[in-house]
Symmetry: C2
Subunit: 914 residues, 2 copies
């Protein structure tokens, strides 16, 4: 037996896994279903719930907490194991605990002369708002209420407390709706001719309790229970039951909280902040939760209850003011705040009540904070020696960095939101409305411009470059405007369908609001809001604290972080934000630039291969210079270049526009122009696809028209050769062949291009290394990844397309048509285009990675879909053993931090397992 005991306590002795050991120890030691607050501690969240553990810890370290005890989660679980019946000894134990509270307070539960009142609160391990049932003032009945009135000398207070108790008990325990009680209250006020609760007298409230009693009788067929013990037993019962009510189950399903944790129940002596001018209540953060400033930040109200602070009927005062009214209490409180922060090694969010000049703490928990505050607090606390660098890194949610890296609207400012679209590219911008891209390009250098279009296309690129932000009324998250804006790090709101643009009148309108060209608007690409007029914007800063934090993160993470960048200027931004390479350079945008698009179109309109080659020859030098620019920015860092991917019709005018144009020309009899446009129409028709997403694009293009790929590979290798020769920059370009689903596709394309590459290198007469790899973005590629890895030297998961094909969702269609409904109905918890779907997409990624690395041990595996900059997705990439993530330059810091989180969490998990 001693042997067994030794084994059981061993983990606790090591300082790890203390929770279960502690839990078991408690069960063993006492065999009890309840713990007095001072018997518990902060580590016992499993057994006492979050609230209970906080109250226990504060009691244990001697802070002024109203006495109380916690009914453990074990009791709740036992309740369900026994078919929803209390464990036999439970109520006996509760009675004993109440006796202890009576001794400590000198009051007696149910004593008409000096009644003990308690609060009963649920409290699970993880916060579950919406099922946190609370009953205050329990112990009141028609006799004890008189005792309370006498003891406080405030009859109105006593009856107000009583009617509040009845209302809460009626709702939480008896299951009656709030409205039934509210109706009575309203009717009473009507009869008394008053509008505010506070205008009701003690007598009114006494009458109201009688009304409540009648409601309960008529609705439940039973009397409202007067016996405090019965009240208590019923309330505990109700709290236990609430663990398994449908909304709690749904909440846990949705948040992946296990169903076998149970809830604890906290029973605590009531203290009142509304007993007069020397009473009060308040909340405080131990540091400023908005800025992180190291100074207690809080508010209080005298002669008030928590409800009053929340209701906002009176304006709370800043905590500092308490120094004038009750200096000793403030000093005590400040000391406690300092102590709590030191004790918990984190910012605390504290609730307190002052009853007749005496301070009580009612709750402490980790304080929620903004992104900037989180960073500052974490870095400060390392400086203060409070926490380690690992802890500091883990304290900052990676997603919270995002708000620091884009201009954002001043949260204090007023704004007149006139429409909402898709939040396509984060950040905020104000500027004058311009409907015409040429105009935008013209005046964009001198004035701040917001380009507003039904949708954008490659012809509009100069306008996009010149604008501060873009707003479209059509298109989804992968529309041209959205992609280009994200790439440039500019705010974009797209698919704002309630807006209609009148290009002739040079206006746009939404509902009754008409906005003229030249009017100022503001768009918020992080929320999708379109706002009339200018809203002050806060510019992002990579503060010293962020730099420190990210430097620590870089030490902890094991995954690389690259950026998706198409232009040298993006590459520069990426490096500034800490990218260690380019994970995806999309070459198609290069063909959309002004001087190149006509050549590209010539190439597409060409009838024969020689004609196509002629046009491509003219593009070769452009491409070579593109790549040289990019390589130069990146020095010797890795650069992955994806060969041309989109369907060719994306470079031609839209079929719909052509149809209208040709019809017009036909009816107007403009024969010559008609004939010319009909040629284009025919080609566009021939290239037209029912589902372009699944059509002739990616490697399929290269199989049909090898000359396009050949030109690109030649340009890549020539760029590498010339840089090495002329500028001594030694780059190893990684050439990525997109949309591989069949090993044979890669085999054919690779053979063609390997020859081209070898020829360039041979001709140059110097040694240049290069790699060929593929984008994994087709489900089948994941299945045959072992075969593909025989040829590919690297994989990069294109999770945008992979999500589209694995879900069978066209992103452009889904986001406008049904995805929002899925999210509203809870069919999807998150947009799978934002947060990687681990169950479906993730499983196939795991399969692909395992199979690929089995064939080729040193296979380089990364991700270049938008998920590469989303924290939960980055964590998953770490878990399945990816070598790096790649994301837009502006999300690189987020990815760095997220990768560090993943590595640190894994380390902790491993240590725990030992």
């Amino acid at each position: 037996m001693a042997q067994v005991r030794h084994r059981m306590t061993k983990p606790a002795a090591r300082g790890r896994s203390a929770k279960p050991a502690g839990k078991n120890a408690v069960r063993k030691r006492s065999g009890r279903w309840t713990l007095l607050f001072e018997e518990g501690n902060a580590k016992m969240r499993d057994l006492l719930g979050g609230k209970g553990a906080g109250l226990a810890e504060m009691s244990r370290i001697g802070l002024p907490v109203p006495p109380g005890f916690t009914i453990t989660t074990e009791a709740c679980l036992e309740y369900y194991r026994q078919g929803r019946r209390f464990p036999p000894a439970l109520m006996d134990e509760v009675r004993k605990r109440i006796r202890v509270l009576e001794e400590r307070t000198g009051k007696r539960f149910g004593d008409p002369a000096n009644p003990l009142l308690v609060s009963v609160r649920s409290g699970a391990k993880f916060s579950m708002p919406g099922m946190m049932d609370t009953v205050l003032n329990l112990g009141l009945n028609s006799r004890t209420v008189e005792g309370l009135a006498k003891a406080t000398g405030d009859r109105r207070f006593a009856y107000d407390s009583y009617r509040r108790f009845m209302q809460m008990f009626g709702n939480v325990v008896l299951g009656l709706k709030h409205e039934h009680f509210e109706e009575m209250l309203a009717a009473l006020k009507g009869r008394r001719g008053v509008t505010l609760d506070t205008e009701l007298t003690a007598k009114d409230l006494e009458d109201l309790t009688e009304e409540y009693r009648k409601v309960v009788r008529s609705r439940t067929g039973k009397e409202f229970p007067d016996d405090p013990w019965q009240q208590l037993e019923m309330t505990i019962h109700a709290v236990f039951e609430s663990w398994n009510n449908p909304r709690a189950i749904t909440y846990r399903n949705f948040n992946k909280i296990p169903h076998d944790l149970g809830t604890a129940v906290n029973v605590q002596v009531m203290v009142f902040g509304n007993m007069g001018p020397t009473s009060g209540t308040g909340v405080a953060f131990t540091r400023n939760p908005a800025t992180g400033e190291r100074r207690v930040y809080g508010e209080y109200l005298l002669n008030a209850q928590g409800e009053d602070v929340v209701a906002g009927t009176r304006t709370p005062k800043p905590i500092e003011d308490l120094g004038r009214e009750m200096p000793a209490v403030l000093r005590q409180f400040m000391d406690i705040c300092a102590l709590l922060e030191k004790h918990y090694r984190d910012v605390q969010d504290v609730e307190f009540t002052i009853e007749n000049g005496k301070l009580y703490l009612l709750q402490t928990r980790s304080g929620k904070r903004t992104g900037p505050a989180a960073v500052k607090i974490a870095v400060d606390m390392v400086g203060e020696g409070l926490i380690s660098k690992e802890e500091a890194v883990l304290r900052v949610e990676p997603a919270s960095l995002e708000q620091l890296l884009h201009p954002r609207l001043d949260p204090q400012a007023r704004k007149h939101v006139i429409a909402k679209g898709l939040a396509a590219s984060p950040g905020a911008a104000s500027g004058i409305v311009v409907l015409d891209p040429d105009e935008a390009a013209k005046i964009g250098t001198e004035r701040k411009v917001i380009l507003v279009r039904p949708e954008t296309n490659p012809d509009d690129i100069h306008g996009l470059v010149a604008a501060k932000g873009v707003l479209t009324t059509r298109g989804g998250m992968t529309s041209h405007a959205a992609i280009v804006a994200r790439g440039m790090g500019k705010p974009a709101v797209v698919g704002a369908e309630s807006i209609s643009v009148d290009e002739k009148a040079r206006t746009f309108s939404v509902n009754s609001v008409v906005v003229r060209e030249g009017d100022v608007i503001t768009i918020d690409g992080s929320t999708g809001e379109v706002i009339k007029g200018e809203v002050p914007v806060i510019e992002p800063k990579l503060t010293g604290e962020i730099q420190d934090l990210l430097a620590w993160a870089d030490k902890f993470r094991t995954m690389g972080v690259r950026a998706n960048a198409d232009y040298p200027r993006d590459a520069r931004t990426a490096r500034e934000f800490g990218a260690e390479g380019i994970g995806l350079c999309r070459t198609e945008h290069m063909f959309m630039e002004e001087e190149r698009l006509p050549i590209m179109q010539q190439m597409i309109m060409a009838a024969t291969e020689p004609e196509r080659r002629k046009a491509l020859d003219r593009l070769l030098d452009f491409q070579k210079e593109d790549f040289k620019g990019l390589f130069r920015e990146m020095g010797s860092l890795p650069v992955i270049i994806r060969l041309l991917d989109p369907p060719l019709h994306e470079f031609l005018p839209r079929l719909e526009d052509l149809l209208v144009e040709v019809t017009e020309l036909r009816l107007r009899g403009e024969t010559e122009k008609l004939r010319e446009r009909e040629v284009v129409l025919r080609r566009v028709r021939a290239l037209h696809e029912f589902n372009p997403m699944l059509g002739l694009r990616g490697c399929r293009l290269g199989i049909l028209y090898p000359e396009i790929n050949e030109m690109q590979v030649r340009a890549i290798l020539l760029a590498a050769v010339e840089l090495k020769k002329q500028e001594r920059i030694d780059i190893v370009p990684e050439i990525m062949i997109p949309l591989i689903g069949l090993t044979n596709e890669l085999r054919v394309v690779h053979q063609q291009l390997e020859q081209v590459a070898q020829a360039v290198v041979k001709e140059a007469g110097i040694k240049v290394r290069y790699m060929f790899g593929t984008m994994i973005e087709i489900p089948r590629a994941c299945v045959v990844a072992d075969e593909i890895a025989e040829i590919a030297e690297f994989f990069s998961y294109g999770t945008n397309d992979l999500t589209q094909t694995i879900f069978g969702f066209s992103r452009d269609d889904a986001q406008g048509k049904f995805l929002h409904v899925y999210l509203e109905k809870g069919i999807l918890k998150e947009d799978p285009f934002q947060v990687l779907d681990r169950v479906g997409v993730g499983e196939l990624m795991k399969m692909g990675t395992q199979r690929g690395k089995k064939t080729r041990k040193d296979l380089e595996v990364g991700i270049c879909g938008e998920h590469g900059g989303e924290p939960s997705s980055v964590e998953y990439c770490h878990e399945i053993g990816l070598d790096y993530v790649s994301c837009s330059p502006y999300r690189v810091p987020v990815a760095r931090l997220a990768a560090a989180h993943a590595a640190l969490k894994e380390k902790t998990a491993v240590t725990k397992d030992v």
Copy 2:
């Protein structure tokens, strides 16, 4: 040792696994690299190759085969094992074997007086046409040719044989191109002023051999080898080498033939059919390979060699004629045919040569036959007691049944093919061209009509119903025309892009051919051919033999076979063809019928749910009657009904057409009509999707517009209730919710519809069972199949969409744009939309099936994609444990046979494993 020996021979004693045991036994017994023909037998294909085993078997049973021996595949493998060198003893053995041949023939190898000549032929286990190298007349040189001339008394014959040998040797062994020799021959004919080879004299040919000698010298730098032993050794070497030439490797890769089999080499005494009027050569089948008639079917030529029969310069005579010329030889041959067939228990394809009145057999192998012949032969042979029913079933390729179930063009007829499109729905039909569906509907009852359209849409359904076949110039294998035609079992050729239809001129043209409305054309939906004029068509018959064969197949198979049927008439056909239920009833076609489409369109144009419900109420009765009709046909057999699947815009006019129409109305100033059409345009635009395949369809529709599904489920249950009450037909409808990718989708839709179903049943007051299940057609569904099976009672793989999403191929786009290139280049071996891709799609189906059945043991799993009627796919479905396959009614017999094959093959494999 005795013990071991006993074990090794045991399988052979059982009559199974005789091959490997036999092989080992031979190697053991002899340690030899060669076998005389009479030392081998038919079972030794592994060791002797197919050709060698046939020659061995015939020799063994005493048929007149020119003596010879086979160099084993083991020798070839040893050659490669030893770094491409002959096993040391090989040539010694070969020499000994040649001595045996010399003894038997009385001739001597290399003897100028009476030379022994041999043929050398490769022969692997599996036929590999294109690498079967052959050298005839080996042993000739400038001296032996004279001996041959003397021995035959025909100097021209001798030199012709010699130059043929040189040519073959030069090509096969020395690697020279045919052209080099052909040029010489042509030059010689030029000099002699003749046009035919036969006009050349002995002297000419003698000169030619000198020319050939020079070619060899100048091209290879070496003398043409005169030593027959050297010739033989070099030829064997060349045949071994041919096993690993690139085209052989490619062929084996493509046909999944293992690379470690090696080839055998057959060395055989030459016999000559061209030695005069009592010599000859021919080929024969032991039964008619076209009809299966039990009568030898063959052709021969006197004084000729095999080449002459193949070249077609002379017309061979029917085998019967030999009775007049050499009756004894014919009698002998007929006896041999009877014997061979009995011996091999199958139709044989025999090659023979008569040399100076003496019959020799040169080859026997299983005879290739047409579908009808295969069926007749198999069933006849069971009647004759030659083979078992299992064997008979296995003898008929399931795919060969397909040609029996559709009208097909008379293969004898001439045809003027003017265009080719996609073979979208098998069968052939002739009729007059009609361009207008209304016209087709009007005259289709009286005349045979082929409907010709750029493409069809739901409005054209009445024309499709009336036509004998349909031809479209646009669209792919899943275009409206293709799907509807397949469903109706009518021939269709779609996407014949070289044809342009001029609807105004009422013509269509292709290249220079113009076809007017009213002209007769023929389409072949099995080949995609479009033919001018009428071609005689052979109507399909389910002969007694087919019925017998299928009845046997039904006994052997373990998988069910259902049909995809949307209409009662399809259901009737399906039952006639042996379907055991309906695996897929697509309800969308029901909404496309003439009187219903306008109501459907009203529903879609409706702005509010009540308006939609009003329109749906009007469709309820139609739907109910549809289902009653279907259920009535199927009696108590299972019927799976899929809820509405396609995107709603498929029921509205096309965006492109509307754009043109609205532009025209606008320019013409037809304001009223314009306003009306603009309303439709707006709705069509709102519903327009970039990738409709991945858009708002399937269960997504039901989540957004539950009222559509509700109406359908009500109709299904009402139909079941009424049939039970009124006609005592007890049906268990299986309601299929399409396009599930997320378990929550199914949960939400199922909850809604379960309520509707229960309400109908409750109201009816009688018990009606029903099932809810889902179509698995999204990759993600395969991954989460375990979860889905918690709700779904059945799965049906929609492999059309599953193939689209797993490959990332839009079928409509891929088939017209790049799939053909993939097939041509060998990137794909087969069209994955026709033959299930086992590696990708198959693996996910396996995953889905395993996971689904793990959750729900009695989960019913089937397939309703078009693969359900394709033999290889059916086999795979059997392998992964599907419960049934479902296919178009016309393919049900194919599926029944294929399912039997799969079950029988599995049985054999299991027996072998024991």
